[in-house]
């Protein structure tokens, strides 16, 4: 079994990751915003902002940041390489895309007659190549391999292309040994079964965005199926995030304690869902270290011992990010 993780600077031994923030965003650019007349992406400024946030994360005890924005939402590999070298924080970048509204016309209305959207197999090929041969710097070269395959389904309900993306991401994960992370707000369990039907083991799947009100039953069903859950809006109530359906950190801590008591501690992942720099969309001003600084004390208060907490922050993500032999 392989024990290395694909970082932007190349493979790193899984035990060197330290505390991992698995669902974060470094530079997040709405597709097309890079061409907007009123949006300036000053890479030197972006570097300074991200550097400060990564240093704060490291100072709080963090070791690895995973950029969960995929391949078409501002991913800037040379920038992330320089940031990782400068700060000493491991950076894992992701491949994948979604939901459909984030895709370019190349995938949706190709120059064929009729313009049939891409099927799962072609997405699998695109994402799989990024996870094995390297992530693309568009029209220039491939760089390091992707460490996570991500997709998101439309909040109101999956489109046929959303399902193709999820199936393609699952196929790519199965073939490459890189884990899959998806969110599917409208039909989480249906989406999980769709992904698993491609033959991907459940323990290689992370279901994102499950720290929402009313989702506790879904969380239990996901872990009982053997897949992993991510509570990835940690700190949202402290920063006054407006989504009414997000849990508070106290509620999250209670849910984590319940899952650990039920023997599902190995299926839990925690992240702040912070956006380092957002272009073309609003994002709450939040820190990558929210889990370490404000949530760990709540977990302790909820009765988790130090080793359980360390397992959630270090061991679980290391197991997921370690590339499995296909």
């Amino acid at each position: 079994m392989s024990t290395t993780v694909n970082t932007v600077l190349g493979p790193v031994a899984a035990e060197e990751l330290g505390v991992v923030a698995i669902h974060e965003a470094l530079l997040s650019v709405v597709p097309g915003a890079q061409y907007a007349y009123d949006i300036d992406i000053d890479r030197a400024e972006v570097f300074e902002i991200l550097k400060a946030k990564l240093e704060a994360f490291k100072a709080a005890g963090g070791g690895t940041i995973v950029d969960r924005t995929g391949m078409f939402h501002g991913r800037d590999l040379p920038l992330y390489e320089a940031l990782s070298r400068t700060t000493g924080v491991h950076i894992v970048a992701s491949t994948g895309m979604g939901p459909e509204e984030n895709l370019g016309g190349y995938f949706l209305t190709p120059q064929t007659n009729p313009p049939t959207p891409w099927p799962a197999e072609r997405f699998a090929e695109l994402f799989g190549a990024e996870a094995t041969e390297g992530m693309v710097l568009p029209r220039v070269e491939r760089r390091a391999a992707a460490g996570l395959i991500v997709t998101t389904q439309t909040t109101a309900g999956a489109t046929p292309t959303d399902d193709s993306l999820l199936q393609g991401a699952a196929l790519a994960a199965k073939a490459s040994g890189v884990a899959l992370s998806f969110s599917a707000p409208a039909n989480t369990l249906g989406a999980l079964e769709l992904a698993l039907a491609e033959g991907l083991p459940a323990d290689r799947v992370i279901v994102a965005g499950l720290d929402r009100a009313g989702a506790a039953d879904i969380v239990r069903a996901v872990v009982e199926r053997g897949a992993n859950v991510a509570f990835d809006h940690i700190g949202s109530d402290e920063r006054g995030q407006s989504d009414a359906d997000l849990l508070s950190d106290d509620e999250r801590a209670t849910l984590v304690a319940e899952l650990v008591a039920a023997g599902h501690g190995a299926r839990i992942l925690l992240s702040a869902g912070a956006v380092g720099v957002a272009k073309g969309h609003d994002a709450p001003d939040t820190a990558y270290d929210a889990v370490l600084t404000s949530f760990v004390p709540k977990l302790a208060a909820a009765g988790l011992d130090e080793s359980s907490i360390r397992s959630i922050l270090v061991t679980n993500p290391a197991n997921l990010l370690a590339v499995k032999e296909a």
Binding site: G32, A33, A36, D38, Y106, N113, P114, P138
Partner: protein, 322 residues
């Protein structure tokens, strides 16, 4: 004097000379840049592009209108270097090939925002290149029917045209009445609009040419060379003589001032294989000889590629209220 923005700065409309009104240095659907199957080295891109433009210039071509909109691989500083090295004027487009090539940021934008984007690119510049757009591109999404986003882009284009004097070229001339209604509502004279691709194979029977011409619009015979006689023609191809005779009907009926002609060729395609054997130089190597064989005079050819283009770019058309 009417000024026209090329990527290397404004020129007088009189300096345009022989112009192909609808071409592409390289076109790729948004997202195609992520697919390595289409990648080319910079050496290859220049090798595919420069000889075609040098030949175009040798034949007497002077100006190349690039119809590649925002998000489709438009690359202004690359165009600047090509223009400087070949001497061919390149006019870049603002706008979009169609709603289905506008990425999310623009797909969700208001008419006002889109108009501001187009006006900025026409008057201030595109990105950090310093080059300005000289024309506005709009188009119909796949399916031959205007989508709400297509209509927002057309409306924004009309406002940008009125604000700057830049003309509009369309991708496809189908569902023309929807476009005419938008331009009428915005008060844009239809002489400022070239309804493009009226000559392609898949649009036949779907273009209301009389309606467009009757409203004052111009008809684009701008896919010359996508002939079904090619070894591997695209799905929008058409028999060579059918297209030629279609254009000749305009010339013979005294409607030469209503048409503009181009090849819509890619010098070096970005996100598709392109069409082997088709270049901008079809205009000189096939079409103009065909004209001469049919007895079309040099003066008429000159009007098609020089006079009509200058008229299209000229803002002498009185605007409402002036």
């Amino acid at each position: 004097m009417t000024r026209v923005n090329t990527v290397t700065g404004p020129i007088a409309v009189e300096q345009l000379g022989f112009t192909s009104i609808h071409e592409h240095i390289g076109y790729g659907m948004p997202g195609s840049e992520l697919d390595t199957r289409w990648w080319k080295t910079p050496e290859q891109r220049y090798e595919e592009t420069i000889p075609k433009l040098r030949k175009f210039a040798e034949y007497g071509g002077q100006t190349f209108v690039d119809a590649t909109g925002i998000c489709n691989g438009r690359d202004i500083d690359y165009y600047q270097s090509i223009s400087e090295k070949t001497g061919v004027n390149i006019i870049a487009s603002t706008g979009f090939v169609g709603g289905d090539t506008a990425l999310k940021h623009f797909a969700e934008a208001s008419v006002e925002y889109l108009a501001d984007q187009f006006i900025h690119e026409l008057t201030v510049g595109i990105g950090r290149s310093g080059g300005k757009a000289g024309i506005i591109k709009v188009g119909v999404s796949r399916g031959f029917k205007m989508l709400p986003l297509d209509l927002r882009i057309y409306r924004a284009a009309a406002r940008a045209s009125l604000a700057t004097g830049a003309p509009i070229i369309t991708h496809l001339a189908v569902d023309a009445q929807s476009a005419i209604d938008v331009f009428d509502e915005e008060g844009l004279p239809l002489t400022r609009v070239l309804f493009g691709h009226a000559d392609d194979g898949v649009s036949q029977g779907k273009v209301d040419e009389e309606g467009i011409v009757g409203a004052g619009g111009r008809i684009g015979f701008d896919t010359f060379g996508y002939d079904l006689e090619l070894p591997d023609p695209p799905f929008w191809g058409r028999h060579r003589d059918e297209r030629f005779q279609h254009l000749m009907r305009y010339l013979r009926s005294g409607q030469i001032d209503k048409v503009l002609v181009a090849a819509d060729a890619n010098c070096s395609p970005l996100g598709w294989p392109g069409v082997k054997g088709h270049t901008i130089n079809y205009l000189f190597e096939q079409l103009i000889p065909d004209f001469k064989q049919d007895g079309v005079s040099d003066a008429v050819i000159d009007q098609l590629f020089v006079g009509n283009v200058a008229d299209f770019f000229s803002t002498t058309t009185p605007l409402e209220g002036e």
